[in-house]
């Protein structure tokens, strides 16, 4: 089998998502060059995608077209990907490691008689199959897995590969959708904002993020105090918003906000990969955690190993007295 790689491209309001350009680069590396890259874009009507041909730099763009694909669904997108996989003869299928990939990748993999390598940060071919480096144990460890059977399926983390520059597709093929609207078992009713509380995490210069290690909501005040002293806003890890200590719109990470402040202070956050992808773009990262092996220290510039409940008020005090 060839080493052709197929990418699921995703549309955004402004064209193609940043994640799609990263997948195109990953595919190009795996295929040994851009000429081995195919991309699939499910569309309701191919004429809607005219402009996208110019910004989707694949050797082969497969527009899978049909009314069933006008709105994205897990099973509709999976059917389009499988159809394009067959048409392209790709040896691997790359999807984003995001809520779209979480929905679609297992449906595609099951039909191909395999499992997907998920949360992937690196990919390479070996004589006996595709090896994927991925995150395990909530980011504590890096695991390599082998997909011995082809085609292989992988979901790739944001930021794992550089983004390809937009450019035109070399060739475009339009494939009729293999599924009609009545074949679909799921229907997208609507997409809506979850309703933000007026805090724009993404625009803040300083974000002080609270983690589960703080122990309970009664200890959030010291985080708020530090945020006030630094002129910043409070954010949170998923564990904290799930526990209801802070509202969900303050969650930073792969299923929440992506922030890139000038200063990011992680308080008692272990640093699961799902959190790291949401704050990786920060200019300067401080981590305070009692576990010296916490992955957050790998993503930080400066760290203090210690009990956050003791250290945070001391930092607040030091900031105030240093002015």
């Amino acid at each position: 089998m060839s080493r052709r790689a197929l990418v699921l491209a995703e549309r955004s309001e402004s064209g193609i998502t940043d994640a799609s350009y990263e997948l195109l680069e990953a595919a190009s590396q795996l295929a040994g060059g851009p000429e081995g890259v195919s991309a699939v874009l499910p569309v309701g009507d191919a004429s809607d995608a005219e402009g996208l041909r110019e910004v989707l730099p694949a050797a082969e763009l497969l527009l899978v077209e049909g009314p069933a694909l006008a709105a994205p669904t897990a099973d509709g997108t999976a059917a389009a990907v499988l159809h394009a996989r067959e048409a392209s003869g790709a040896a691997c299928v790359l999807l984003p490691h995001d809520p779209v990939g979480w929905d679609v990748a297992p449906l595609v993999a099951a039909r191909l008689g395999t499992a997907a390598a998920t949360a992937v940060s690196a990919l390479f071919w070996r004589a006996d199959g595709l090896v994927a480096r991925r995150s395990a144990f909530l980011g504590k460890f890096v695991q390599e897995v082998l997909a011995p059977g082809l085609p292989a399926v992988a979901t790739v983390e944001r930021g794992a590969f550089p983004a390809r520059e937009p450019g035109p597709a070399v060739s475009v093929r339009i494939l009729p959708s293999p599924v009609g609207p009545d074949d679909l078992r799921s229907r997208l009713v609507e997409v809506r904002d979850s309703g933000t509380g007026g805090v724009d995490l993404t625009a803040a210069d300083v974000v002080v993020a609270a983690g589960r290690g703080l122990g309970g909501p009664e200890n959030l005040e010291i985080v708020r105090e530090l945020a006030r002293a630094l002129g910043g806003v409070v954010g949170a890890s998923r564990a904290v918003t799930d526990a209801g200590w802070l509202p969900h719109e303050l969650q930073i990470g792969s299923s929440g906000a992506t922030v890139s402040p000038k200063l990011y202070v992680a308080c008692a956050i272990s640093g699961a990969i799902q959190h790291l992808v949401g704050m990786r773009g920060s200019r300067f990262v401080v981590a305070i955690n009692k576990d010296p092996d916490a992955p957050i220290f790998g993503a930080a510039d400066v760290g203090i190993v210690g009990d956050a409940l003791e250290v945070i008020p001391l930092v607040t005090e030091a900031v105030r007295s240093s002015g």
Binding site: A109, F137, L138, Q143, R185, D242, F284, V302, G303
Partner: protein, 259 residues
Amino acid sequence: MNAVALVKQVPDRNSAFRPAGDWIDESSLGYGINDYDRYAVEAALALKEAGHAAETVAVTAGPADAGQVLRSCLAMGVDRGVHLITERAHLADPFFVARALAEAVSKLDAGVVIAGLLAEDSGHGQVGGLVAGLLGFSFASAATGMEFRDGRLEVHRELEGGRIAVVELRLPAVVAVQTGINTPRYASLRGIMASRRKPVERVELAAPTDGGGLRRVTLSKPERGASAEILPGSPQEAAAALVPRMRAGAGISFPGDAA
């Protein structure tokens, strides 16, 4: 029509994990139910209580001692369990696990199958979706809410950037739930007593034979490419040393700074 929860036994998350070969050293670990799966069990119980399921069933694949997680599900109120007995090492391949679970689910008159979004240990995050794919059921992942509407299941899914997708699924369906979708109940004393009389069906799985889906190659600590400078000294000294570094590194001043 029944509500089925897929659950997994995982090492306690506060254990000191050490990589050993292609996995962790499992010689001295405590085990319990995967945290995400507690939300799946609660969701299944809620479906029955709302009259949308006749019975609740918990299914797990794992070694003999994984029966403990089924007992904890029964103690929470689940009606019965199915234990697919296999060696712990065979859980390495999500496709093997999903195929076994799918076969079990196919015999359970399942209307809604609920899985946790991912397992805390392997974190493949796809067994629910694979089961859906293998059985031709509907599927939605990252669910933060679900309710019945006109014989279909309406699921709220978390997207990136704080957006929510509302999707409608035909039954039977598999839903992979986020933590936070509900508040899992604790087992009552009465629940624990009652669980002892609840049935658990045990099925011995054949060892995987073919190439399967995924094989473990290595497990290691993440490389610390940009490892943090750890500030030494007492907490007071470290805090004092941190402030000028923050100011210089971030290139900003703080509200209390002299103008």
